[in-house]
Symmetry: C3
Subunit: 457 residues, 3 copies
């Protein structure tokens, strides 16, 4: 991941993110991310098991995350961590000896979490164990049965309807046994106690956009951040959806209370526009930060309100936590035809879209890190910028005029009630220009960062 | 009133209202309401007197209201209850012996509250005592003179302009004497102390939409509610406009302070769309409830802001009370050509419109009664609905999906800050579906109604 | 200024302003204002010096303002009052003896605040001392060099490019020496301690719209107000832009804290529509007052948000003061082609536009003065207007109906939470009608003005 992981010369996170964006090599980043997606894609992941563990180990090559385990049977709020699923083989062979389904061919072809079964089954009895999509007859669907023991196969509907009468040979060489649920975690300590959580689910088998893209981009961000000294403490979680997040929240309530901002990352490689789903609070700082970045991107995008359905923002946003965690995707779950089917393969994920998504994430973190509240140290009337060399020269260039307006806005609103983002939104001065103006004014002794108690934005 | 008055099998008001709506027989309800309008129509009502008393007795056949009396001369805030008006006959006979006006023909033909007079009057002197509408020359107007003793007759302008010269014989056999002002009242006690007032004016003589329709619908609601055990205490008032409401408020200030929600009902049988006039507060719960019901009706409707002119919402909404009482009508006062004329007769009022108005009122009361604030009893992360049989089965129907979304929304927002209506508005899940979901979740032990102190919606 | 300065018969400011508006003679007011603009125009004003002092003396003929002096070298916040500039002559003569620039011809032709210089300069060395506008080749620009000692001349670009080679004779007979900065001030004491500041800059040399128009209108207002007994204390400031306002604020912090509302007046004679720039607070009473008046004017207008660039609202609106001072102009600074050039001469300023601007200012002050909070003294239900002769007669005129609605609205909202402007905005009843209704209701003992502690609008 050299394109996005070069150690920046400064370890200040704003500077580092700024440099990463200035030097961003979209072609290279896209290729690296796509290569990671391709590597992760074939693995038969689930909410527990070796496939998940292997995937986390691949990610740990990119960023120094640790793989943690929660034992089967652990009670986590209203849930219990299930037995660990081990799949050795799963094959369905027809009356004529033809292989109808084979998990070795595609991890989607077995019902995820299938209990062990071996035997011969009539065409008729087989029916209850087959899953297909009549409306998309050529695609294999993704189906699971985590909490109701069952076995099954997923196949194209057109293949299913053509299955001959007769006896079928079923082999599901799996086990559901005591073990553990794995997840990956990387904490980058920050100057402040407040945390930012970045959460990606990694429990889906061969689905490239829905899970591999989020894992890859989250790992790239983790790698970059781990080389910096950020303001916030960053916690990257690579977790089984639902049960994994519930387990983490249940076992780390105290840490969870420190989360001030968060993003769930998923579906970040498809050709669609960027989509942001607001936190349950709806007006959290992260909501405003992401909206600002997407609006400034110049590309089409959409921001939607929170709903209690989707990815793990559901858990972070449950009423007992109500954490400010939004969800960033390109096309949201369920809104692209390839969703949860064999068509969500690496060809559906585009390198340039992965790179574009990563870029937006970097911009989001830059604004989040840089969104300080400032205090004007000479708040009565304007300070005389001219005598400090901060005033545009006579007939100054339009750049100088813009720089001067950035300074005037900042001085005017640096009263402890406005964050840099507030100033950007009110003034329509780009955030980056304000950041630059803040530095100049700080250097001139006209401005300082407000302490927590002084800031009331 | 069998169609709307059948004792529901459950006395729980929400269930009762729900059943009344499920079994609503619009044709029958419309016919019953219209028949009541026709019976009330011919009576010569005023703000006091036998006509008003007789009308209240007719209503007391429908619902068990009591007729109360306030003595003439009682001071009520800035007003004094006037002497009671008794009209025995009022007739204007022309020079040729022709009957020009006769209160026996229509109660509109005498100036309401006419003082007694008997004598012969020249065509010229008569002029000051005649009332007509030049712009609607064929209609008899409705005119009153409550606080300035006078006598007069109302007639079509075309008849007035054709009146011959000569002497006219005037007979106004009336009296203005000590007596009382009547009003009807029915209180349905509720589980909570908070009150809902439903107020209809019944002081107009032969005006079918403007007064009889409101009286009839209010009585039908009173009848249904009196068979239930509602959450709120309901107070139905059948009162002379202005002075009746002022008297009730002046003599029952303590009770008035318990009013949490209220509706003035009038003009509910004309062919126009539903119209709701917000309370003075503008954002009261009843405002949101009515707006929600009208929006969900699928019919055209209009919601307007409060103005200090109209029906008795003026008094409930005076600054010293500022009660949350809105006004529900179809076409508002003064906006239909028939308003306050002889054309506002039973043919102007449509049975199907009366039934439609009653239906909306039932829906409004259902939402008001059911608009609870709930608490999620497992608020940290989502509870596992599957193990409780609350999760849609695999490949569930769209109904199951909708039911599940209703449960997820409710669990997510059941934090004490959201009423069921808040949830409905935020989620766009129909109120009824949320009510059903709330029952299922309550039954599963996942939800309970918040106490008054716990609720901060 | 007889047209706008006739002593009104009543000294009550609302009555006085009302009378001034009723008897407003636009033609006469326009001619008087324009005549004052023409008298002020030629003077070579700057932020200090005799030109400024002479201008203030002219204004003191219109309104009884006093001229005050702040010594050079006085520290005012981050600034220091500069040495006083005296210009006796400034002339640039070409190689052939032709006069290229001469401050006696137009005060714009010398770089404002030019330091003394006398000598012969080559065409080439002259270049750094010439100022012109290539895009407007026939106009003389306005340029200053207050804080960087320099000398220079301003001339049309077409003249500059035609200047022959050779030696030029430069005479800048000026001095920069200890002295003082002048400003004009008039305080009209009010019944309340709260102040209204009206601030006009008067430091520009021959610029008719940008400075003379604001000076003239501010003086006309000052004259009218000084004949009245207003509610607020009015402080009229005629000040050098930036440094003058900074000096006043620095030397009068206590008085500044009493400012409750304020207007910066400038650019009020050009043909453009009225433009109001909101205070930094954005929702101050003055913002609502001006918006209301402009909306009611029936003319095109524009209201914009505060920006920290422009006239002295920058200083009043610095975060250490955050005073509710907006800026009223016609076309704002920099948005007309004539801005800061020789084309901003008296022919650019139109008498009828000056009169129109003055009219708006009078309306603004009338609404501001009259924007009381009232208390209904019979707040429970409506008072009986009829018995007090306040109710429209039977079949009353539409004027009577409007008057009655004004009274009903006022009674309904006279709860201490609504100013007259709140009532006007909510009811859409014209402010003047509400003022009239308030008088009638006060006279009838139904209403009184709320004290400061009772008012929570």
């Amino acid at each position: 991941m050299a394109a996005t992981g070069q150690s920046p010369s400064s370890r200040d996170a704003c500077d580092g993110l700024h440099q990463a964006l200035e030097g961003f090599d979209a072609a290279r980043a896209g290729e690296e991310l796509h290569s990671l997606v391709r590597e992760l894609y074939p693995i038969c992941r689930s909410i527990t098991g070796e496939g998940l563990r292997r995937s986390l180990r691949i990610l740990s090559r990119v960023a120094p995350l640790e793989v943690r385990e929660v034992p089967s049977g652990t009670t986590v709020f209203d849930w219990v961590v299930p037995p660990e699923w081990t799949l050795r083989a799963a094959r369905l062979v027809g009356p004529g000896g033809e292989v109808v389904c084979d998990a070795a061919r595609s991890s989607l072809e077995v019902l995820n979490y299938s209990a062990p079964f071996r035997g011969r089954v009539s065409r008729r009895d087989l029916e209850a164990h087959l899953h297909s999509i009549p409306e998309q007859p050529s695609l294999v669907p993704y189906r699971t049965s985590y909490y109701r023991p069952d076995w099954g196969f997923c196949l194209p509907h057109e293949r299913r309807t053509a299955l001959a009468e007769g006896e079928y040979e079923v082999l599901v060489d799996s086990s559901l046994a005591d073990g553990s649920m794995s997840y990956g975690e990387l904490v980058v300590p920050g100057a402040e106690a407040g945390e930012v959580v970045v959460s990606a689910h990694c429990c889906h088998p061969s689905l490239a956009n829905d899970n591999c893209s989020g894992m890859a981009i989250s790992a790239a961000l983790a790698r970059l951040l781990s080389g910096l000294e950020p303001r916030y403490t960053y916690r990257f979680l690579f977790v089984p959806g639902t049960i994994g997040t519930i387990a983490w929240l249940a076992l780390h309530e105290e840490e969870a209370r420190r989360i001030e901002h968060g993003l769930v990352l998923a579906c970040l490689g498809d050709p669609g526009r960027m989509n942001y789903k607001r936190t349950r609070r709806g007006d959290a700082e992260i909501d405003r930060v992401v909206s600002h970045v997407l609006a400034a991107s110049g590309q089409d995008y959409r921001v939607r309100d929170f709903t209690p359905y989707g990815y793990d923002e559901r858990q972070y946003g449950s009423p007992g936590f109500n954490l400010a965690v939004g969800a960033l995707t390109r096309t949201p779950h369920g809104e692209y035809a390839e969703y949860h089917t064999s068509a969500d393969d690496p060809s559906f994920v585009k390198p340039d879209r992965l790179a574009d998504s990563l870029r937006r994430c970097l911009e989001i973190l830059l604004v989040l890190e840089g969104n300080r509240v400032y205090l004007n140290l000479l708040p009565k009337c304007e300070p005389q910028l001219g005598k400090r060399g901060l005033y545009g020269s006579v007939g100054g260039s339009s750049h100088a005029a813009a720089r001067q307006m950035a300074m005037l806005w900042l001085l005017n609103l640096a009263d402890g009630n406005h964050s840099l983002l507030d100033v950007a939104e009110r003034s329509r001065v780009p955030f980056g220009d304000l950041r630059e103006a803040a530095r100049a004014l700080e250097a001139a002794g006209l401005l300082r960062v407000a302490g927590r108690e002084e800031a009331r934005p």
